[in-house]
Structure formats: C-alpha cells, structure tokens
C-alpha cells in the first residue's frame, strides 16, 4: 500500500478552483519534489493535506495508508503521522519551545493511545534530538519562534520533525528566506531524517534546494495540475529552461 495517495483532487478557495484534479502517489522511503511557479497551487496542496480551514474540497480524495485523510481533524492527522513544515512558522510569545513541544508530543501520544512522556524523560529526549541536529539548547528555552532568525525558525521545524517522527513530512518552501549556509544546515537536518519508512514531499520554486535534498521523483505543477513527472534530472532541466514550456501543457 502506498503511504500517501492523492487522487484527482479538486479544491476551491472562495469560489475559485485552485486544484483541478491533482494526483500524486508517495511510497515509504521516497522523497518527492513538487516544483512550479507562484500560483500553481503548491501551497494549497500542502494545506489541504494538513487540513487547514478555508479550502473546499469539491472532488477527489486523499488516502493515508488507505484511510480517508479528509475525514480527519488536523490534529488527528498529526497524530497519525502527517507533518507539515511551515513556510512561515508562527511566533507564540510566552510559550517556551520546550513546553510547546512537550504538550504537542503528549497530545499526539495520547491520541494514539500511548502513555504520556514525563517531563524528565521528555527533557532528555528533546536534548538528545537537538544535539543530533546541532541545535543549541538555548533555543528550547525561548518562546516558540519569538525573535528567531529565518534559519532558526526552519531548524525549529526540523527539530519538531525529528521529535514527532512522522511518516510523511511535507516541507513547504523550506528554502524561502534562507541564505546558502542556513539552507545547507536545514537540508542536512532533513537528510538525517530520511529513512526507508518515512516519505518526504518537498515543495519548492527553485532547483537549488534539490542540490541538497536529492529527490527520487520530481513533479512539475502548473495551474493546479501535475503536468510532468520524472527523476531528479527533471529539476535540472527546469533550471535550464524555466516553467514557461509547461504553461501550455496545463
């Protein structure tokens, strides 16, 4: 069974159709890249998979391990193992990163019928994870993303990914706002989390990110559809010739 299966997905936002029958099949262990110009519907796809309000699904379905994902609340999806790394992670003043992660992890564990993790055990775990990703301990004590640089925010997303151990990670424009060094650090973090059981869907404008996170499959999106799929060389081809050639195909 495939891990994530998007079938003929049609989505509207305020009467305007954004996705017109998008299909995608992601298997465990794979890294898929979704590329496309602004407005092609990439972020809409990631939001609909995660369950954000404000999108109306008018047709098609999304299956996660064969289960209907669209029937689940967003927090249920998280507990099942769907993780979205946000393009713009929000700031939550007054809530320490440590506290936030503990509350979220326990909420997920509870939803899965697992025991909660105690404060000392959690502290140990989060410190280990942070260390393995070269994330300074200091970040855990600060308010969630408050005063973080662009790079720190993205690393915080990767820290959460490592901690929650999701089955599918969707990385929405992870490269936006990062300089080349920050990008490399973030990509190293993501690569460390690649595993035969886990799949990743990397959404990006630019081929640049894919130099660091090398995909198994590349999809080109245009006007709400996948217009071409191929291997990692497809990304290089796009870099050369741009998206214009696909506009007509859509």
């Amino acid at each position: 069974m495939s891990l994530l299966e998007v079938k003929d997905l049609q989505v509207r936002v305020e009467e305007r159709e954004i996705l017109h029958g998008l299909s995608l099949t992601v298997n465990p262990g794979q890294v898929h890249a979704i590329m496309g110009p602004n407005g092609s519907g990439k972020s809409t796809l990631s939001h609909v998979i995660a369950g954000k309000l404000g999108y109306e699904v008018t047709g098609g379905q999304i299956l996660f391990r064969g289960e209907d994902l669209l029937e689940m609340e967003p927090n249920e999806r998280a507990a099942k193992g769907v993780f979205l790394a946000f393009q713009y992670p929000v700031e939550i003043p007054g809530v320490t990163t440590w506290n936030f992660l503990h509350a979220a992890l326990n909420a997920q564990r509870k939803a899965r019928g697992e025991d909660e993790i105690s404060s000392p055990a959690f502290l140990k775990k989060v410190r280990e994870v942070a260390k393995s990703l070269n994330i300074p301990q200091d970040m855990l004590k600060r308010g969630v993303n408050v005063g973080f640089s662009g790079g720190e925010k993205k690393r915080n997303e990767i820290l959460q990914m490592a901690l929650f151990e999701p089955a599918v990670c969707i990385l929405d424009e992870m490269d936006s706002g990062l300089d080349i060094d920050a990008l490399r650090i973030a990509a190293d973090g993501v690569n460390a989390l690649r595993s035969p059981e886990r799949a990743m869907v990397v959404i990006t404008h630019y081929q640049r990110l894919l130099n660091y996170i090398v995909p198994d499959v590349v999809h080109v999106m245009s006007k709400g559809r996948v217009v071409k799929s191929g291997g990692k060389e497809l990304a290089l081809e796009l870099e050369e010739s741009g998206y214009a050639q696909f506009e007509d195909a859509a």
């Binding site: 954000k52 939550i92 509350a103």
Partner: protein, 498 residues
C-alpha cells in the same frame, strides 16, 4: 508534567458551562431581616458585640450613603439594584461558641474541603513540579482565614503567627481585641465617604481579615483569606485591613467563590493596606465568583474598593490579581505613593467570557519624591463579553522624579467581544517620567492552525496561547496559586472558540 499540559487536561475534563464551585451548602443560618436601614446596621453591630465607637462609625457611613448616588461612569451595564431586596447579614447558626476547629459545623468544613482550602493546620506538602531549571518547591505553610457569608469561621496557624508577633484574625475580633490598632487605621486609606460602594460597605461590613505585622518582622508564612458566599439573596461586604509596620513584610492572598444561582448577588468589599517606612505588602487575588450562565443569567456583581497607602518612605505595595469570575467587575486596586522613594505595582489578568463585563484597572497616585510605579495589565475577552482597562497615573506638584511604566495588552478571542483601554495620565510637575504602551491582538487562525497541526486540539491550542500571553503576570503569583490560576484561565475560556 508541565503546567501547560496539566491545564490542557483539566480543560478536557470539564463540560462547557460548568462552574466548579457552584454547589450550595445546606446549613441553617441566622440572618438579619431583609433590607437596609439604621436597624440593619445596629443589628450587625450588635451581632458582632461591637463597641459604641464602631457602631457610631457605621451609622455615620450609613447616613452618608443615603445622600450618595450609584456611580455610572464605568463601562458596565446592569439592571438597577434594589438595595432593600438584599440580606445584609447571614451567619451559619452556631451550635455554641467555638473553641477549636473541630467544633465547626462539619458541613462548612466539607465545603472548604470541596473547594480545596485546607482549614486544618497542615502544611501544604503537595508541591507542584518546578519548571525546568526552576527552584524546587518548598514545603510551605499557608495560614488561612475562611469567611463564610458574613462571618469568619476559622483562622489557622494562630499560635505560630502569634509567636512571630503577627496578628491575623477576623476583623470582627480585632475590633474587640485590638481597638487601638483598628481605630488608628480603619478608614484612613478608604474613607467612609470615598464612594458609593465603599460607603455602603462601611455601614454594613460583617467580617473580613485583619493583619498587623510588627516592626522588622517578616511574616513567617503566606496569609490567605477565602471568601465564600453561600446564602441566597445575600450580599457579602467584607472588610480587610492590613498594616505592615516599619521594615516588615507580608504576602497575602484572597480567593473567592459562590454557588451557581439564577439571580445576581452583590459583593461590595473594601480592602485597605498600609505600609510604614521600609515595609512591603504583596497582595494577590484569585477572583472566581460565579460569572453567570452562558445566557448571561445570574452571577456576582463585584464592586470592590481596594487601595494601598505607602505611608512610609521606601515602602512598597504590590497588587496581583487574576480576575476570571463575576458577572460584573468594578475594581481598581490602587496605590497612594505618599512616602518618598515608595513604589507601587499592579499586575493584572482579567478574563471575560460569555456575557461578563469587566471594568478594572488601577490608580497610581504619586505624592512623594522619587516614587515609582509599574502597571502590567493583560485583558482577555472572549464570547460576548466586554473588557475594559481603566487606569489613572498622576504625579502631584511635589512628586519630583516620579516614574511610571504602564503596559496594557488585550487579547480578543472571537469577534463578538470587546476590549477597551482608558488610560488617564496627569503630571503636575515636569520631572515625572510616564511611559504607556498598549497593544490589542487576536489569536490568529494561523497560530491556531500551527498548534493543531502539531497535534493539539483547538482548546488546547487556545489554552497554550493564552497562558503564554499572561505569563508575565502569572509569574508574580506565589507558585501554588500560579498553577491554580493557570488552570482557572483555561477553564474560564472553555467553549470560547468554535
């Protein structure tokens, strides 16, 4: 388990519309006839075996009250109160004179047990887990005075406090046993003529706490008073007087609850604090009177006058309040900074949900030289509630070098509530430095979605964000109460999103 997680669990266990403290205790009581007259005032004074000077003081206040009109300037709206339709005195019927806690009516003891208030003299040993890196919680003792309707039913740890020279007793007893202290200070911070509700209180107050900390003494434990309204149609008019003599320190906490009833009940308290040279009083309130039901029916009218007088040089008064209850709150804990170099603080969390109306804030009156004050107010409005911060900062002509910092933040949950900030600033000398910052924000969809994508439910997410918003103020509370307050905040916001 971190406190936030605990909050989140607590929320899960609670049904919408459930007020935890809404039960009623079945107990026989001794009441004054309904309504207010000179006879009512005499009745109360006689019940308390008061000396003549006290009765005279009350009667003077009563006569003054007859000439006053109810204030209407606050941003609150309620039907006219019929002051003749209220019982001004209700006391649990005593079986005989009490000589120890074991003789208190077991029903009352049970009430306080249900409320989680330890009346037996046991130290609070159940610490809360300290935050990572925080100090371990000590095995602290808290002395409690419990006021049930109009009388104080028990004061714990009397002996130990006495050894330290601290007087902590019901004010009705203090009037008899320490008349010189009461006469010297009562009404000197909030005069009997101060305002409509304070004047009413002066005439009919029935009980409350009295604290005197002698010079140079650091009170060996937290003092706490727990107020409970039980009787139907009964007003509660408690009076608290705390005096910190030269170089002393005391931390005091009050908590309040009431049964769930359809009709509104009046609570008009007066609290007076006095600090002499180099003394400090820290006064914390967790106010959780019944707020009314989800249709806005019932609830307590909370019209309270609280004021502290930093009478001596280098003295300090700090108010911390967590206001979650009451249908209407009208309350402005204030500081008169009379002594040179004295300082006042006001930390407030005011939460309104349903149809609650809150008009609360503070007054910092700078009279002495080099006085400073600090105001941190966090207002949270949800449901169809209205939440107003009203504050005055003033510097007298002679108050050179006065400094104030004010930060008022409001958080809106949903789009049917309102938050308002009404600051008054008066500086009558050019050396005063007053700073004022105000923000209003909403819990955004993006923040909620972020939290929910990480596995939290909508309610857990709101609880988390709100607890983050009020953190600066929660940190001012003694630790046990900070945890309690944090739970209360989440419960108060139950059902506010959706």
């Amino acid at each position: 388990m971190p406190a936030v997680q605990e909050t989140v669990e607590r929320v899960r266990r609670i049904d919408v519309d459930q007020y935890r403290y809404g039960f009623e205790t079945q107990i026989e009581s001794d009441k004054a006839p309904k309504g207010l007259s000179e006879d009512t005032v005499r009745f109360i004074s006689a019940k308390k075996n008061e000396p003549a000077w006290m009765l005279e003081w009350r009667l003077e206040a009563y006569r003054r009250w007859l000439t006053m009109t109810e204030p209407t300037w606050a941003r609150v709206d309620y039907p006219k109160i019929d002051y003749q339709d209220i019982y001004y005195y209700a006391a649990p019927k005593p079986k005989k004179t009490l000589s120890s806690i074991d003789e208190i009516d077991p029903e009352i003891l049970k009430t306080y047990e249900k409320l989680g208030i330890p009346l037996r003299e046991v130290a609070i040993l159940e610490g809360v887990e300290p935050p990572p890196g925080g100090p371990p919680s000590a095995n602290r003792k808290i002395a409690v005075d419990a006021v049930f309707d109009s009388v104080s039913v028990a004061t714990t740890f009397q002996k130990e406090l006495k050894a330290a020279g601290v007087i902590f007793m019901p004010i009705s007893e203090a009037i008899r046993e320490h008349p010189e202290l009461v006469q010297k200070y009562l009404g000197t911070v909030v005069p009997t003529s101060d305002n409509y509700f304070a004047t009413l209180n002066s005439a009919v107050f029935s009980d409350g706490s009295f604290v005197y900390v002698p010079p140079g003494v650091r009170c060996p434990m937290e003092l706490s008073t727990y107020f409970r309204i039980n009787e139907r149609n009964t007003g509660q008019f408690e009076r608290t007087l705390i005096i910190a003599d030269k170089g002393s320190y005391v931390s005091y906490l009050e908590g309040c609850t009431a049964p769930q009833r359809d009709e509104n009940q009046l609570h008009a308290a007066v609290v007076e604090l006095v600090t002499l040279d180099d003394a400090e009083i820290k006064y914390s309130t967790v106010q959780n009177w019944y707020p009314g039901n989800s249709e806005g029916k019932g609830g307590i009218y909370n019209f309270v006058t609280k004021r502290g007088d930093c009478r001596g040089k280098n003295s300090k008064i700090s108010w911390t309040q967590v206001e979650t209850g009451s249908a209407i709150t009208w309350k402005y804990p204030s500081c008169i900074l009379r002594g040179d170099n004295s300082s006042g603080e006001f930390y407030s969390i005011a939460i309104s949900n349903g149809f609650q109306q809150v008009d609360s804030g503070t007054k910092m009156i700078h009279l002495g030289k080099n006085t400073s004050s600090r105001i941190i107010s966090k207002g949270i409005a949800a449901g169809k509630s209205q939440n107003t911060y009203r504050g005055l900062v003033s510097a007298h002509r002679k108050a050179t070098g006065a400094r104030n910092y004010t930060a008022c933040d409001s958080l809106l949950i949903g789009d049917k509530c309102g938050a308002h900030t009404v600051p008054y600033v008066e500086a009558k000398n050019s050396s005063a430095t007053f700073e004022h910052e105000a923000t209003t924000s909403k819990i955004s969809e993006d923040v909620l979605f972020y939290c929910i994508q990480r596995g939290l439910s909508q309610e857990e997410a709101v609880g988390l964000v709100v607890n983050g918003f009020v953190k600066d103020v929660l940190q001012q509370l003694p630790m046990e109460f900070a945890v309690e307050a944090q739970k209360l905040i989440s419960i108060s916001l139950e059902g506010s999103v959706g």
